[in-house]
């Protein structure tokens, strides 16, 4: 489906039991839901079950949904509640963020220090030695190519789990910071640290790739 339906249109079609509308929605969010559920439950099979239960609850709740939050937020909230209930049943404690690791990570530079001038050897220290170039001249058919998209996906898949979730929920699924913090149970500061580190790695991968033939 090329033209993406907006939420209101999607909601109306869903209420009329339109299969295409449902398909569009699951294509868009199902993998994110499973991934998020996996934070709380033991294994992929259970995560998949929780995501399916979520879709069922969405369908049955459609007529009661009042649109006070976005459809997307509503779906993610149902998932989180179901996953939490399931994890309590499984006696699994969620230790989502290792705070010490995060504090350590937040002090690690996200850009290779070698790209800056040496503080000991240069009178203009900590300024670019190898400055980034403009990407303005890169044609869209290259930056938006399937190959570029695959590279971004692979880079995100290789990130630590917490960074991967935050960048996916924030930059792709476009949930708000507040929503993500509620869902993951982390502070806004930690959310931004994770987002920053994730984006910096994707940017670096893109720079390496887009400028290789530039």
């Amino acid at each position: 489906m090329d033209a993406k339906l907006d939420e209101m249109a999607l909601l109306n079609l869903l209420r009329q039991r339109d299969e295409m509308a449902f398909t569009q929605l699951v294509e868009q969010y199902h993998t994110s839901l499973v991934r998020l559920a996996r934070m709380y439950v033991q294994d992929m099979t259970t995560a998949e079950e929780v995501a399916q239960e979520t879709w069922l609850a969405v369908l049955h709740g459609l007529d009661r949904f009042e649109g006070r939050s976005s459809l997307k937020t509503w779906i993610f909230t149902i998932l989180t509640n179901k996953a939490k209930t399931r994890s309590q049943r499984e006696n699994r404690t969620v230790s989502y963020t290792d705070v010490e690791e995060l504090l350590y990570a937040s002090r690690e530079p996200t850009v290779d220090p070698k790209r800056f001038k040496d503080p000991l050897a240069d009178k203009n220290p900590d300024h670019w030695a190898a400055a980034p170039d403009s990407w303005a001249g890169i044609p869209e058919d290259r930056s938006l190519s399937q190959e570029t998209m695959n590279l971004i996906r692979e880079t995100i898949d290789a990130l630590p789990e917490n960074q991967r979730l935050v960048i996916t929920l924030h930059d792709r699924d476009e949930l708000s910071t507040q929503e993500i913090c509620n869902i993951l149970g982390i502070s806004e500061t930690n959310q931004r640290v994770l987002l920053h580190r994730a984006r910096a790695k994707v940017r670096q991968a893109l720079e390496d790739y887009l400028q290789a033939e530039f």
């Binding site: 299969e19 220090p113 670019w128 980034p132 403009s134 930059d171 792709r172 910096a200």
Partner: protein, 80 residues
């Protein structure tokens, strides 16, 4: 008054800048730096591009099993 921001400092503040969570004085120092630094201006623009491109990612295709399960679920619901 703190000294001029370095490029090395600036790159670590980009997300806070884009999210609008930097304190006013830090944002001012950052913008002062940006106005005279092509490298950092390019860096910031690359981060914006990175965010835009990530937003273009489509969901990974569902496996046939997932698709079957979800469609069955939909049809069961539809019948009732």
């Amino acid at each position: 008054m703190e000294g001029e921001m370095t490029c090395k400092e600036l790159v670590e503040l980009v997300t806070e800048y884009l999210e609008g969570t930097l304190p006013d004085d830090t944002r001012t120092r950052m913008e002062d730096h940006l106005s005279g630094c092509d490298g950092c201006t390019n860096y910031l623009e690359q981060m914006r591009q990175t965010i835009l491109l990530t937003g273009q990612l489509r969901e990974e295709s569902l496996t046939p099993q997932q698709r079957d399960d979800l469609l069955r679920l939909f049809h069961d619901w539809k019948k009732n």
